[in-house]
């Protein structure tokens, strides 16, 4: 997704169909937005910053997106879908719910740590880019609640957990990760894995079992 991977489109007769070029341009614009937002922040970024980073014309921008916001939403969706696919793959390989939760946290943190610019885009800028983007961000975070709620089946205690347990747990972790990224510490997000897993698992499995699983080798 980084800009240097894309390079300029070959000039002249490059053998791509019109659709292929259009698709490619859309992806370049998305990558360009990620680069430009990382440099300027969402609120200050301009269409010119984006088209420069993507090395396409303004006209091409407006053929693909009606606004900076639309381009940001597309970029946000690409990143979220990508994380979702990575997490989905890891979860499938895990034998039970606790290990699925650990695998999901590990994958998400590893990706965000390896792509600090994208981490910033989807955790920091997405919260501050206005109501439409913020709503998309909240919806994406909200998607994480259902798989977490499945942990309730693991509980030995008869008493049900309060209804907002999943909302607070996920919100807590997303806020913590966003604050790390905002402080320029995205690269060390992976270090949070033991704390994250313990925090995620404890309400469902109890603190002892959560601690045991965190200390278990991968």
């Amino acid at each position: 997704m980084a800009e240097e991977e894309l390079g300029p489109l070959p000039a002249g007769r490059h053998g791509f169909s019109r659709e292929q070029v259009a698709h490619n341009q859309r992806e370049r614009l998305i990558a360009g937005l990620a680069t430009a937002v990382a440099e300027h922040g969402y609120n200050a970024v301009t269409i010119t910053h984006i088209t420069k980073a993507a090395r396409v014309s303004r006209r091409v921008f407006y053929e693909n997106f009606e606004s900076k916001e639309a381009c940001f939403l597309a970029a946000f969706d690409v990143v979220v879908d990508h994380i979702g696919a990575l997490v989905g793959e890891a979860v499938q390989a895990a034998p039970d719910w606790p290990h699925q939760a650990i695998a999901a946290a590990r994958q998400a943190l590893a990706f965000l740590a390896s792509e600090p610019e994208l981490a910033r885009l989807c955790l920091v800028d997405a919260q501050s880019a206005g109501p439409v983007v913020a709503a998309r961000f909240l919806a994406a975070v909200g998607e994480l609640e259902a798989p977490l709620r499945r942990g309730r089946d693991e509980r030995r205690d008869e008493r049900p957990l309060p209804p907002t347990t999943e909302e607070s747990t996920i919100g807590a972790l997303v806020s913590l990760a966003a604050r790390k990224v905002s402080a320029g510490e995205a690269e060390s997000l992976g270090d949070l894995l033991p704390d994250f897993t313990q925090f995620i698992l404890a309400p469902y499995l109890g603190p002892d079992e959560a601690e045991r699983l965190v200390q278990q080798p991968v």
Partner: protein, 170 residues
Amino acid sequence: MRRAKVGYATFYKNFEDKEQCYLALLDTAYEASARRVQQAYDREQAWPDKVAAGLGALFEQIAAHPNVSRACLVDALTAGPEAVARHEAALARFTPLLKPGRELNPRRAGLPGTLEDTLIGGVLWVVNQRLIAGEATALKGLLPETIEFVLRPYVGEQVAAREAELAASS
């Protein structure tokens, strides 16, 4: 200015620009909330009661001033580095109120180092979602489970749930 019923001259006599005015609002509001929380916390003896009282005071303060709270908690994140720094500093003031809870946990060595930050983030998240949705009044109903959420890692589920029930019945 129209809301404040003052003129341009008064505005510029007090603040250099919009940002300075906003930062002053943050300082005043954070200070007022921190003081309320601290007072409620200090009035109680046992640590779980202190946390429950502090959270109660915080939620009351936020529900009573939803617009200012939104400006200070939601908008501050996007209002530039100075506002973000003050927001961080305001949140950090709650850490020492939670830390004593570690002493009550027999397994305290196993508690994550980020626990206080994480819990504060969780409370902030629940508050922010209600502020964004314009439902600050719903916070009162969420107080018992928020108390349970914050206390559970320190004192275990039973004590946390009992404290939540106490809050629900008061």
